[in-house]
Subunit: 365 residues, 2 copies
């Protein structure tokens, strides 16, 4: 039955037919647990994503679509392979978190983890047991495979658009939390560009927490402190905060984009509907999911080897909050697809790199 089912072995056509008939009659489906046990492969990967419980839809909820798109990307890649996907949502402070991760790790051949949920020590522990790919993590991460969007060139495209096209020179930065790697990337790209180019400079900054609320606070602060001398442009680390700034400015009667430009990052749905519609940067979420999954499958097939960081291009989405005419919606791809080698000496990887009886570095396919 096994031989017929998988078609690998040579089986006499008549036998095959006879067996197949019974398979069909019984609607036989093999027990996956037994298969996995025997094959030492479960053909299942796990993805750990963020839980956020919200009773009502709002702008914050919409940013969750980000994760749902990643999931869809992962699943579609997996479907091509005949594998399946287990999903676990974890809150930032879930007390059962570790236990759930552990239990999950026994049910899968590999794990994908969305940045910001799993503490790095837990990540290292997981990585000792199964291959792990980090999604949207720190591109400086050298110990685990990761797939990220190119936040830097997205930011640069945004600033260049502001400065070169709209001549907005005095930039105010609404930053994200220091703990968020993507906020870090965006900030450092912004600062780097401003340091290299005399045409624009920073007139102030505010550290928010990625929420609309903190964007409103930033906007109010700007109005209060720079009222006589508003910045030319507000560069926000994400769309939620940009929407908050827009709201604060609307309340204060400040015209966007006439008086000041506002731009965001992420391209969440409400950014499209805001007044004025928000110029932002789009991340290829679905592609991120697909690539992360592809990378994980490679790692499962070949656990040894150096971890890599894969960086995906983003899209500058030009709408009207930057100063372009209302109704504008132009998408420009920025950045390129980069793959960088990490560091083979990392502790997490070091152990994984030498599975029983194998020297690292050998490419097996």
């Amino acid at each position: 039955v096994s031989r017929v089912l998988h078609g690998h072995d040579r089986v006499h056509p008549l036998t095959r037919e006879r067996v197949q008939k019974v398979i069909d009659e019984l609607a036989y489906v093999p027990n996956a647990s037994a298969q996995s046990l025997s094959r030492r492969r479960k053909e299942v990967v796990g993805i750990i994503s963020v839980e956020r419980f919200r009773p009502q839809y709002d702008v914050e909820t919409m940013s969750l679509l980000f994760y749902d798109e990643i999931l869809r990307g992962v699943e579609s890649r997996l479907a091509d392979e005949g594998w399946s996907c287990m999903i676990t949502f974890l809150g930032p402070e879930d007390p059962r978190g570790l236990a759930r991760l552990q239990s999950l790790s026994g049910k899968v051949d590999g794990l994908m983890v969305v940045e910001g949920i799993v503490a790095s020590f837990a990540l290292a522990r997981l990585a000792e047991r199964v291959p792990v790919v980090v999604i949207a993590g720190d591109p400086k991460e050298r110990l685990v495979d990761s797939v990220v969007a190119d936040n830097r060139s997205g930011t640069v495209a945004l600033v260049e658009h502001l400065v070169k096209v709209h001549r907005r020179r005095r930039i105010f930065h609404v930053d994200g939390p220091v703990s968020a790697p993507d906020a870090r990337e965006r900030r450092s790209a912004l600062e780097g560009w401003l340091a290299r180019n005399r045409e624009g400079w920073l007139v102030g900054s505010y550290t928010g927490d990625f929420s609309v609320r903190s964007g409103i606070a930033a906007g109010e602060r700007i109005v209060a402190e720079h009222d006589d001398d508003l910045p030319d442009a507000i560069v926000c680390a994400n769309d939620q905060m940009a929407i908050g700034v827009l709201q604060a400015f609307a309340s204060a009667g400040i015209a966007v984009p006439e008086t000041v430009s506002v731009v965001g990052f992420d391209d969440i749905y409400p950014a499209l509907l805001s007044q004025p519609s928000l110029t932002t940067v789009h991340q290829p979420m679905r592609l991120i999911g697909e690539r992360a999954c592809a990378r994980l499958l490679e790692r499962i097939a070949e656990p040894s080897g150096v971890p890599r960081v894969e960086m995906l291009p983003t899209e500058l989405v030009v709408r009207s909050s930057c100063g372009c005419p209302a109704g504008t919606e132009q998408r420009i791809e920025v950045g390129r697809h980069i793959e960088e080698e990490g560091c083979a000496q990392g502790p997490a990887l070091a152990r994984r790199a030498r599975p029983k009886g194998r020297r690292g570095g050998v490419v097996l396919r």
Copy 2:
């Protein structure tokens, strides 16, 4: 090790400690496949949901949030139990569909299927192998367990609000596709109410396909055919179509809600932002997921027994497109939590009710 890990058996405290120490040192996690094989239980359930690939966010995409919320409900229920969840997205015409379902059914203890993806013959086949719960299916379904929102009382609440509060008597109905059970429920509830109450009556209807586009078509048709004598209210089978109608009316210069009311169903996010904001009915998606999952777990524990339909209350969301003042946002729970017995004689269930070598009715745990 097994005894220590699960704590069931009496193990000497010293032995337990000694064993636990090694477990910790090795960071031992049991192989779930071997456990499942031995226990005859995988502690995994599958959920089959709809795939819809959309390169850009728009109103249609937002309606997908519906499914994502269900998934989150399922997962949270499962987490309480220490079980895991496998997700499969299926397109309506996926040629690999059957194969994927089959393969999935070998990996799980039970399946939840979102209405409208799996043909009923395939559903029956699945139900022979594993317990199946249908989500948002036809409440007339008597052969499989199902969990649905109470579309009927939601519709009734909507119409009563329109007729009794706003005196909108001449109703136009923008219907959903005949194949959709929820559209069917909403339609028949509307017709039933109108038949029983003389205060309102139908002046026309249009059959759409749940898309914004078809809503626009409906709106244009209404404008063209009823221009001199517009209906008092347009009752749409979902929010997307209501938004389409709103758009068509805006283009035609028809004032909503002054001249005519428009209401939707589902409470998708863009309904909140439409001009005017849409009065609609909210379904408790997350709860639907939780209840469906709970029901499935019960069925897995006790496969025999009569299938049930569980109906969850909805919320009337009163905003301004019905005629209430702009800025209104009132939520009123309607309908009650109902559980109805299905038919134990159904073929799908009949076979499941007697697993090999067992007479039904024996509770095994």
